[in-house]
Amino acid sequence: MAGWRFTASGIVNSRAKVTVVVSAVLLITGAALRPVEEWVRKAEPHPMRPVRARRINAVLGQGTSMAVLGGFRALVADLLWLKAYLAWSACDLPATETMIRVVTTVDGRPLCFWLNGARIMAYDMTQWRLRAVGRGGAVPTALRRRITDEQAGMALRLLEDARGQHPESAAVCVEMANIHLNTRADPAAAACWYRQAAALPDAPYYAARIHAELLKRLGRPREAYAWLRQLHPTLPPGEEAAGAPVVLGRIRDLERALEIPENERYVAPEVDVVAQRQQKID
């Protein structure tokens, strides 16, 4: 009959038909729009890495649902950081570790959560564990080494995650270098990370200088010399933090130590000419 919206076949059939049609259209729409979604995502990558399943699995149920659902990430992360601080002040290792992971998962934008979290894991937690194991007495060297290594590993894994979130951050690389150097006593790895830090846009000047110092310590003075030679012209002369005179001084030290012939020695632009004139006058 014209105009009626469904036939005499009954409501069961009608509702079942509606269900099937709606499901089919939704599936087709989803499939058709998936390329649009991918295009939008790839056209301009999100500056902030989305929360991944592997990480969120460990933190759900910590009051993070609201943040994960899209709102109040900063506020929730700050509140959770306070909670992490309370756990830290009670030297509660599992709670502190969990809270650091929760905070960085909920809001991975602020670097300070990653850096401070990694420092707590690498330095403070090592001390807590050593204290607990030693019970006031000395801890055997092998055990000390193992605990320190484990904590450094934990911190470095956190910083690896941080690099995923902040690939252009020199501070993360510097922190990784520091942990390699201070806790693992691994100057080779540290040198490598300082070098990576130095290549990033917001790198502190000292990263490049420490890289050269570590190369020297590793018995690779020629590499250190080459590094400093190419570094020096890039340093702004008027900026104290850049330490151009310090770098030049180290270049000269290395030239003497390596007995670089006079004609092959580094000639610094202008500033060095001024320094030579000064030497002659002296």
């Binding site: 014209a2 105009g3 009626w4 919206r5 009954g10 079942a16």
Partner: protein, 287 residues
């Protein structure tokens, strides 16, 4: 041409996806001529509201057909000349009566010129002009029913479908709505209304259709049904026994069989209407 034609309408409902079918209407056939007032009478659950919804095109029948002025009632076009008042509508309490009727006037494609005046006139016709700018939330049940009637009337429909138009209303309000429905007849409108009150159908309708368990069990003119075959009743002031005896003898002498004497009591509803209705003309506007 009939205003409404209902041909063998059957309606089954199936609760949930896999529930057993429930038959609400079973092969109902009814013809309603233009200008006729027909009452659907039946107990609760007899299928009156379902039939009216099918007539208006709000429900699809499982079988059968229905036409309004020749147009299948499932089509939007069939509703052009129809005014419908559902059973106990609860209009948005945040709208004013005027806003509600104006909204329905616009929906019903009433002519734009003079629309507000038209809306005011319809509201005046249902006796709510003094409260039309008050929110519906402050209206009494009777006033809500009357504003519902106004929204049905605002497009000047030729066919009115009224589902329990006096449900939940006091006798004064019901009488006023009854008077309004009687006026529709003089205006040449066709009215199909439902009620479970035989008295109301008797008072208002030309014809009655009796529904029971979804079946049309009787349709007849009201005056045919209510006519007491071959008897005459006289209503006079109280008579003393002696006068009654004389009267009996006088009738017997003329060959008229005397069946008995009754002292009819006054209908309570009439007393109520005469007492309260007189005192509160337009009654619940002040409630």
């Amino acid at each position: 041409m009939n205003a409404i034609e209902i041909d063998g309408i059957t309606k089954d409902f199936t609760p949930g996806l896999f529930g057993a079918k429930v038959r609400a209407l079973d092969g109902v056939t009814l013809r309603i001529g233009a200008g006729e007032i027909v009452g659907l009478l039946g107990p609760n659950g007899s299928g009156k509201s379902t039939l009216l919804k099918i007539v208006v095109g709000l429900l699809a029948p499982t079988a059968g057909a229905c036409r309004i002025e020749g147009v299948p009632s499932g089509r939007v076009e069939a509703r052009r000349g129809v005014g419908y008042l559902p059973e106990a509508p609860d209009f948005c309490p945040h709208l004013t009566g005027f806003e509600l009727v104006l909204f329905h006037a616009r929906l019903g494609r009433a002519p734009r010129a003079g629309m507000k005046e038209r809306v005011e006139a319809v509201i005046a016709r249902v006796g709510l002009v003094e409260v039309m700018h008050r929110r519906i939330g402050t209206y009494s049940q009777g006033m809500r029913q009357r504003i519902g009637l106004a929204q049905a009337l605002v497009t000047d429909p030729r066919v009115l479908i009224l589902d329990e138009p006096t449900a939940g209303i006091d006798p004064v309000g019901a009488a006023e709505i009854g008077a309004m429905i009687n006026r529709f007849k003089t205006q040449g409108r066709t009215v199909l209304l439902s009620s479970h009150s035989p008295g109301q159908i008797e008072d208002l309708c030309d014809r009655v259709a009796l529904l029971d368990h979804g079946r049309l069990v009787l349709q007849e003119r009201v005056d045919e049904l209510t006519r007491q075959g071959g008897r005459t009743a006289l209503l006079v002031d109280p008579l003393p026994e002696g006068v009654l005896g004389e009267l009996r003898g006088w009738l017997q002498a003329r060959g008229v069989e005397f069946h008995g004497v009754e002292m009819p009591r006054s209908r309570l509803e009439r007393v109520f209407l005469e007492t309260v209705g007189r005192r509160s003309k337009g009654g619940d506007e002040r409630s």
